[in-house]
């Protein structure tokens, strides 16, 4: 029963067995995705709503594809920007959706914590967080863990470097939880202005892993097993977080010379969408150790596993 998951809000709320259960079941779904018969009836009769208050191509499409493969009906709702400004409408929207007897709501919202409002309102429907503000993106973290696990035996003891705009990254926050829960040593690296001011994560659960932070990218990359780079939004330069792209590239770009020097065998990851030539060089992004395309493919797989878990299918060991 430990594997039952009511809501997928963030990985900090999941136990290690729950995380493992999702990852294990995803192996089965990967076979389905790669087969000729992609239609299943596991979620037949279920209704999944995707409620996106932010633009998204890959996350939304992967949830829709995942839901449809598993046989559920998927309803896509796009909310306009104006209704975001009036945040109170989210409570009413939640009540409306609840009244329509749907089984799961996949929400993306520009405000941190928005999925918790839905979860608080819902008596029966499940909530899946598809990205909230700068807080969390748990399905991205799960697919990242799954992708790494396709190439290593265990996450425990691995050195994971997460490089770039950590402070604004919900992907980084969820990945920190995920990798720490599975016992990795996580190193955050980037300009001081883009690093967190505090590292609270380990305070809230037991972990065999550790967490460090540095502005020196070589220190983070040294003997790393996995290097994850984060998207650098152009807006960060406009707002003064970094002086120029040139300086960022010179100091923090993941490129061949840095990788060759510090961790030639490391797996390379990026949650997308990439700015090739800025946070990551073209040759590394498309090189032999790059897992970036696999992350996209595994996005569908993990979302199948997550929808299956929250929509009530038992995954007892």
């Amino acid at each position: 029963m430990a594997a039952d998951i009511k809501h997928m809000l963030d990985l900090d709320l999941l136990s290690k067995p729950q995380i493992t259960s999702v990852l294990d079941s995803a192996l089965v779904y990967k076979d389905i995705l790669n087969s000729d018969m992609k239609k299943q009836d596991e979620l037949r009769g279920k209704i999944v709503v995707t409620l996106f208050y932010e633009a998204s191509t890959r996350t939304r499409m992967s949830f829709e594809e995942a839901g449809k493969i598993l046989g559920s009906d998927v309803i896509n709702v796009s909310a306009s920007g104006s209704s975001v400004e009036k945040g109170e409408s989210l409570v009413n929207t939640a009540k409306t959706i609840e009244a329509m007897n749907v089984d799961a709501v996949v929400i993306r919202h520009p405000h941190s914590g928005a999925p918790y409002i839905l979860a608080d309102q819902f008596a029966s429907a499940s909530v899946v967080n598809a990205g909230d503000g700068t807080h969390a993106h748990p399905t991205q973290a799960l697919l990242d863990l799954f992708t790494v696990l396709e190439h290593v035996d265990s996450i425990e003891g691995l050195k994971i470097a997460i490089v770039g705009d950590v402070i604004h990254s919900r992907v980084a926050r969820s990945n920190i939880h995920g990798f720490l829960k599975l016992g990795a040593h996580v190193f955050l690296a980037g300009p001081a202005t883009l690093l967190p001011k505090a590292m609270p994560w380990l305070r809230y659960y037991e972990s065999e892993g550790s967490l460090s932070m540095t502005t020196n990218v070589d220190e983070a990359l040294k003997d790393a097993d996995v290097v994850m780079t984060l998207r650098l939004q152009n807006e960060r330069q406009i707002s003064g977080y970094i002086p120029s792209e040139r300086e960022y590239i010179a100091n923090w770009q993941i490129n061949s010379s840095r990788i060759d020097k510090n961790c030639p065998d490391a797996w390379i990851m990026h949650p997308g969408p990439m700015n090739e030539g800025i946070e990551i060089s073209e040759s590394i992004a498309n090189g032999p150790k790059s897992l970036i395309q696999k992350q996209v493919e595994n996005g569908v797989v993990i979302r199948m596993a997550v929808l299956s878990h929250v929509c009530g299918v038992k995954h007892n060991k």
């Binding site: 409570v91 405000h111 914590g113 608080d120 503000g133 700068t134 505090a198 609270p200 809230y204």
Partner: protein, 447 residues
């Protein structure tokens, strides 16, 4: 009911101005304090009301330098009637009303409006604070002299800082001769704009934009410099960081004419309150994102709380003010980013603060001083008659039962603002009787 004589028997009478702290009787005749003595006997009569105060604290009514009564313009959040009803329930017999209403209190006639509503609707004394700048827009100073003549007791653009340093300087110079405080909401608007809670571990965990201490401290430092330069009275509203306490301590040690206040919540809560299950999202399975713990300035860390308490105990921070900021449900039942800043404070202030007294980090006489004579001193000579039980002064008197256990239940709030992070919390001690001008305006004594 109107009684010519009220005799309050055998309470622990604490009056910081006169230094009294002993079991004594308080006699009120014709709305004035007649005498405070160890044993006053009065023959019973139809015009005499005797109140037994054994086990209770008897002290001057509290004077709040900082409350949002929301009228005019936001009557759906609070009115002068409901706000002052909550005030007397919390022991506040004088309340200074902040001018961030709609329209703002920035003209003599608006000052008169608040006074008039105070006379007709209020359960306690209401004193209008005027805006520093027209429309609270920070661009040009108000008619200070006319507004003062109309009854403004202080000036503040609260809710926003007087951001332009030159406007602040000119306001201080121009209004200086009035010798009333210019209160500033210290917030450097350019540092970490759009922050919603204190920067720290909790903000990082929740992915919420942080408000660093420097946002406040930069402007506290500026205001100290402007205070020194002009010699006018500057009052720092709602101090929240240890660094600000230190800046104010240094300024005072140099003889600079600066005063300050701190709120009960900043003395008793930390930013962890945002994480605590409670509020609207109590059913949430995880992190609460409690919007009822969102206020400006934000709740900060334990070391800040310790420094603020020490600041009150040592007199570096002059007063405790509520920053009572009631909101309607819709303004709070939303995402943390969208939610309005501010919490409802009147009805929980004493219960919260008495926790510090029991923990022996704040003495009871000091707490009462910070709520009575200290704010009167900040306001100046016009308040000589208030905040004390001295013979001949007006009979604003409250009785506190320090031993009542109670649970905060916003359904019992008389304030329209149910927005408190303390919902469901167990507190000890509350006000049981409030006299304003010798009249019983709140009575919860055991019948």
């Amino acid at each position: 009911m109107k009684n010519a004589k009220i005799l309050i028997k055998r309470g622990r009478v604490i009056d910081p101005l006169t230094g009294i702290d002993q079991i004594a009787d308080v006699l009120i005749i014709d709305n004035k304090i007649q005498s405070v003595d160890t044993n006053i006997d009065l023959s019973a009569g139809p015009d005499v009301m005797e109140i037994t105060a054994e086990g209770l604290v008897v002290c001057p009514g509290f004077v709040d330098l900082h409350a949002h009564l929301r009228e005019p313009g936001f009557e759906y959040k609070e009115t002068i009637a409901t706000g002052t009803k909550a005030a007397v329930k919390g022991g506040f017999t004088s309340v200074c009303a902040m001018p961030n209403t709609d329209p703002a209190i920035d003209t003599p006639s608006m000052i008169e409006f608040v006074k008039m509503k105070g006379k007709s609707d209020a359960s306690c004394r209401v004193y209008p604070i005027g805006a520093v700048t027209k429309g609270r827009k920070g661009k040009s100073i108000v008619d200070f002299l006319e507004m003062y003549s109309a009854g403004a007791v202080a000036f503040s653009d609260d809710g926003d800082p007087v951001y332009d340093s030159e406007i602040m300087r000119l306001a201080l110079e121009y209004a200086g001769p009035l010798n009333v405080p210019i209160m500033n909401h210290c917030q450097d608007l350019t540092i970490s704009p759009n922050g919603v809670m204190a920067e720290g571990e909790v903000s990082e965990l929740l992915g919420l934009k942080g408000i660093p201490d420097s946002v406040e401290e930069v402007m506290v430092a500026r205001d100290i410099a402007l205070c020194k330069a002009t010699g006018s009275k500057v009052h720092i509203s709602h101090v929240s960081s240890a660094g600000s306490v230190e800046l104010i301590r240094l300024a005072k040690s140099q003889g600079i004419n600066i005063t300050s206040e701190v709120c009960p919540h900043h003395l008793t809560l930390t930013d962890e309150a945002v994480l605590t299950d409670g509020g609207y999202f109590a059913a949430s399975p995880g992190n609460a994102y409690d919007t009822n713990a969102k206020m400006y300035p934000p709740l900060r860390g334990e070391s800040d709380v310790d420094a603020l308490i020490h600041g009150v105990q040592t007199g570096v921070i002059d007063c405790i003010a509520t920053d009572h900021a009631p909101h309607d449900v819709v303004s709070k039942h939303t995402t943390f980013d969208c939610a309005s800043f501010g919490i409802s404070v009147f009805e929980t202030a004493v219960g919260s603060l008495l926790g510090l007294v029991r923990a022996q980090t704040l003495s009871l006489p000091k707490m009462i001083e910070a709520l009575t004579i200290a704010p009167c001193r900040v306001l100046g000579d016009a308040f000589e008659e208030y905040g004390t039980l001295k013979e001949g002064t007006v009979a604003d008197v409250i009785l506190i039962d320090p031993d009542i256990d109670w649970v905060v239940d916003t359904k019992e709030f008389v304030s329209k603002g149910k927005n408190t992070p303390l919902e469901g919390r167990r507190l000890k001690g509350r006000v049981v009787l409030s006299l304003v001008d010798g009249q019983i305006m709140f009575d919860e004594l055991e019948k």
